[in-house]
């Protein structure tokens, strides 16, 4: 816990905090206007949902969970309703899955799609959650429902993402490549999403150069996106391109996820701020524990394994994380910690998932082989 000593700054000019936006920023003005309008009629469904979506987008861009809280506040009149209006159900599900409340998010989405079977957003969220839970067959069905509700490129990309995790990696990759190349006028945010998927797919297939090119193309779109930065940093770490990680993330210390990748790179090459960043991360984990948060477990496992060198503790965290979600990165940390702790039994769920999903991933394949070799 950080209870440093409170102090009185030396001068009035001392800058204490940097806000995400200036007052003159168009985003600030837009948000102020929307908040103002909503406060005049807090039960106006369209205005409330629009503001919630605006905040949700901000949360996605830089990963600040405060925006999730602000979005929830906008939906306050409907938040506790079981049978809320469909627009609220979908937005509430998005916010709930962000906080890892997958089951209540699924309940909302199932109700929303029953009331309004052509609710594209709900189907896309269902697909995303089912992928996280490794329910690939269901996720594929969710993607199919998007026909006619989203651009055909998005439908192809959705299906390809599922397929790439469940035994048809190569084919899914080339299908999506072709679809993307031949699609007319793709909006920038769709480009960002598809390029990120292509980068991840090619990385899993061991095509490092192609992955790198896709990552760079995605970054070039200049759309702030915390997820893209995190996965690209991970790719660079795997490639031992540590100084590039430091360059990519040097002013992103505010984000826990990005700071962790930064600290890993700094440790690898003994960069000057490695120890300082490690201490900050530890303090943030302590704070998260105090508040009763369990959202950081995957990274906390990584922290214990690579920065503290305590594989047993890391393994326990990775096991706990696996109970909630089954993405390749969840399997990877479970395998890595089990390997470090020399505990083959603990890795069994990930080994089973690896076989069952028929995932093709060069990192996982290496790890699975090493874990199977344990006595």
């Amino acid at each position: 816990m950080v209870y440093a000593a409170p102090f009185i700054p030396a001068s009035d000019a001392e800058v204490l905090e940097q806000l995400p936006f200036k007052a003159s920023d168009p985003t600030t003005r837009e948000l102020r206007r929307m908040r103002q309008e909503l406060s005049e009629s807090p039960h106006n469904l369209d205005k409330a949902v629009a503001l919630a979506q605006r905040y949700y987008r901000l949360a996605m861009a830089d990963g600040d969970p405060r925006f999730i809280g602000y979005a929830q506040a906008a939906l306050a009149p409907w938040w506790e309703m079981d049978e809320a209006p469909v627009a609220v159900l979908v937005q509430r599900a998005a916010l709930r899955q962000y906080s890892h409340n997958f089951n209540s998010a699924l309940t909302d989405l199932k109700l929303a799609t029953r009331l309004e079977p052509r609710q594209g957003t709900a189907w896309s969220l269902l697909a995303a959650i089912h992928m996280v839970q490794a329910e690939y067959a269901t996720a594929r069905q969710d993607c199919e429902k998007l026909h006619g509700l989203a651009s055909s490129l998005i439908v192809v990309a959705c299906v390809a993402t599922v397929d790439s995790l469940s035994g048809q990696a190569r084919q899914a990759y080339s299908t999506l490549q072709k679809a993307y190349a031949s699609a007319p006028a793709v909006p920038a945010n769709e480009k960002l999403w598809i390029l990120t998927r292509l980068a991840e797919m090619s990385d899993r297939l061991g095509l490092a150069e192609e992955a790198d090119a896709y990552f760079r193309a995605a970054l070039k779109l200049n759309i702030p996106d915390a997820y893209l930065l995190a996965v690209y940093a991970e790719f660079l770490l795997d490639e031992h391109r540590h100084s590039e990680v430091i360059k990519l993330l040097k002013d992103k210390e505010r984000s826990d996820v990005l700071l962790m990748r930064l600290a890993l790179a700094e440790k690898a090459i003994n960069a000057p701020r490695a120890a300082e960043h490690q201490a900050i991360i530890r303090a943030r984990f302590d704070a998260a524990r105090m508040r009763g948060d369990k959202l950081h477990i995957q990274d906390e496992a990584r922290f214990n394994l690579y920065l503290l060198n305590t594989p047993e503790a890391a393994l326990r965290l990775a096991q706990e994380n696996w109970l909630g979600q089954h993405e390749p990165s969840d399997a990877r940390i479970l395998l890595e910690t089990a390997l470090a702790a020399k505990d083959k039994t603990a890795a069994q769920p990930a080994l089973y998932w690896f076989t069952e999903s028929r995932i093709e991933d060069r990192h996982l394949e290496k790890l699975v082989k090493a874990v199977r070799g344990l006595k």
């Binding site: 800058v15 996605m60 506040a73 997820y227 943030r284």
Partner: protein, 375 residues
């Protein structure tokens, strides 16, 4: 249509990037004494800016001058959102000082305040509602201190009122908690037990012409044991107190290594006797080192600053009690067996060899920071 617009955004949602930042928390410390409550409330500048606006010139950074100008507004905003009740009577709050602190995720306004109740507090009821209306994800992390005991609690929108009984957190209970910890530590602290046993094993014997002979009566054995135990107790109490009060500190690796060395030397002395009659001096000299070891355990337990002495005395008494229990189990048994070859060969000689070996491994582990044994 909104749905269409945000479709890709939801698809991109992958929970790995979730909660990339530390969420909004405030840190509330309350110290109750008599009829008054001293409070310190750390609230993130980000949160205060969102709620009441801090960035006077709108340039996106908050200076001490800007914060200072809003001190009254901060107190007027925050204090009514913490209601303190004692025996069903409200205790009015009043701000006493404004400072700043840096936490792992940025700068916080530190609001110090006092709440005056009419009668001495036996229970306190707190109602916390800061920021819940604008950010339902916000949490208030409470540390409640009363007569040297500390309790923590978390306030969230669904747990905004909590009641704490203060009478039960009595000093006596805390004293016994530390006593129990002291007993427990000596029982599970193999190095301390083995050190003591090595010195006590020869107490029922005496050296004559390079051979061990059984003592004729119980008195000399008891006297020897008393001298050793008293010397050990005196010595480790001195250093335990000095270290706990912060007068002397030693690096823990040095202390732990020296403790292992003391076990090796005292056991070796039974195999190749150098110091025969004055083993109490050895007990005193090495006891000083063991005291530092106890002190680090006590520090790990967490020391209440306002009840330091109580914790120290309680813990020390616990250690002595635990030690006495071991000695009173050992002495009659050793006395009973003193004439047997089994005692001299198997217990004294072989036992000392085993202790020497075990403690040597500890010594190597601690000096070189390795892990060779599973305990």
């Amino acid at each position: 249509m909104i749905t269409r617009l945000f479709l890709t955004l939801f698809l991109l949602t992958l929970p790995s990037a979730a909660h990339a930042h530390k969420p909004s928390d405030s840190y509330l410390i309350l110290k109750t004494e008599g009829a008054s409550v001293q409070g310190q409330w750390d609230i993130a500048l980000r949160d205060l800016d969102f709620a009441i606006g801090l960035d006077g010139n709108g340039d996106g950074s908050i200076t001490w001058g800007e914060l200072r100008a809003r001190h009254d507004a901060i107190a007027a905003y925050a204090l009514p959102r913490l209601k303190i009740h004692a025996q069903d009577e409200a205790c009015p709050t009043r701000a006493t000082a404004h400072l700043v602190d840096k936490h792992s995720d940025g700068a916080y306004a530190v609001l110090r305040f006092v709440a005056e109740c009419t009668k001495p507090l036996t229970a306190v009821e707190l109602n916390y509602s800061l920021l819940f209306d604008v950010d339902p994800q916000h949490k208030g992390l409470l540390r409640l201190e009363y007569q040297g005991t500390t309790r923590t609690a978390i306030f969230s929108p669904d747990k905004s009122s909590q009641r704490f009984e203060l009478a039960e957190l009595s000093l006596l209970r805390q004293f016994f908690d530390y006593t129990r910890e002291g007993v427990w530590h000596i029982w599970i602290g193999f190095d301390h037990i083995l050190f003591l046993l090595s010195l006590l094993l020869p107490a029922v014997l005496y050296r004559s012409k390079k051979h061990w002979e059984a003592v004729p009566g119980f008195r000399p054995a008891l006297l020897d044991v008393l001298k050793i135990v008293t010397a050990f107790t005196l010595a480790h109490s001195i250093t335990l107190s000095l270290a706990t009060l912060g007068v002397v500190t030693l690096p823990s690796r040095l202390v732990e290594s020296a403790i292992a060395a003391s076990v090796v030397l005292s056991a070796l002395n039974n195999i190749f006797p150098l110091i025969e009659g004055r083993r109490w001096m050895v007990a005193f000299a090495f006891g000083l080192i063991h005291g530092f070891g106890f002190a680090s355990v006590l520090a790990d337990l967490g020391l209440p600053q306002d009840a330091l002495l109580l914790a120290l005395v309680g813990f020390n008494l616990g250690v002595e009690g635990g030690q006495l229990a071991i000695v009173s189990a050992f002495l009659p048994l050793a006395y009973f067996l003193r004439n047997t070859l089994f005692y001299r060969r198997a217990v004294l000689f072989a036992g000392s060899i085993m202790i020497t070996l075990l403690a040597s491994v500890w010594l190597v582990e601690r000096v070189f920071d390795l892990k060779l044994l599973g305990f």
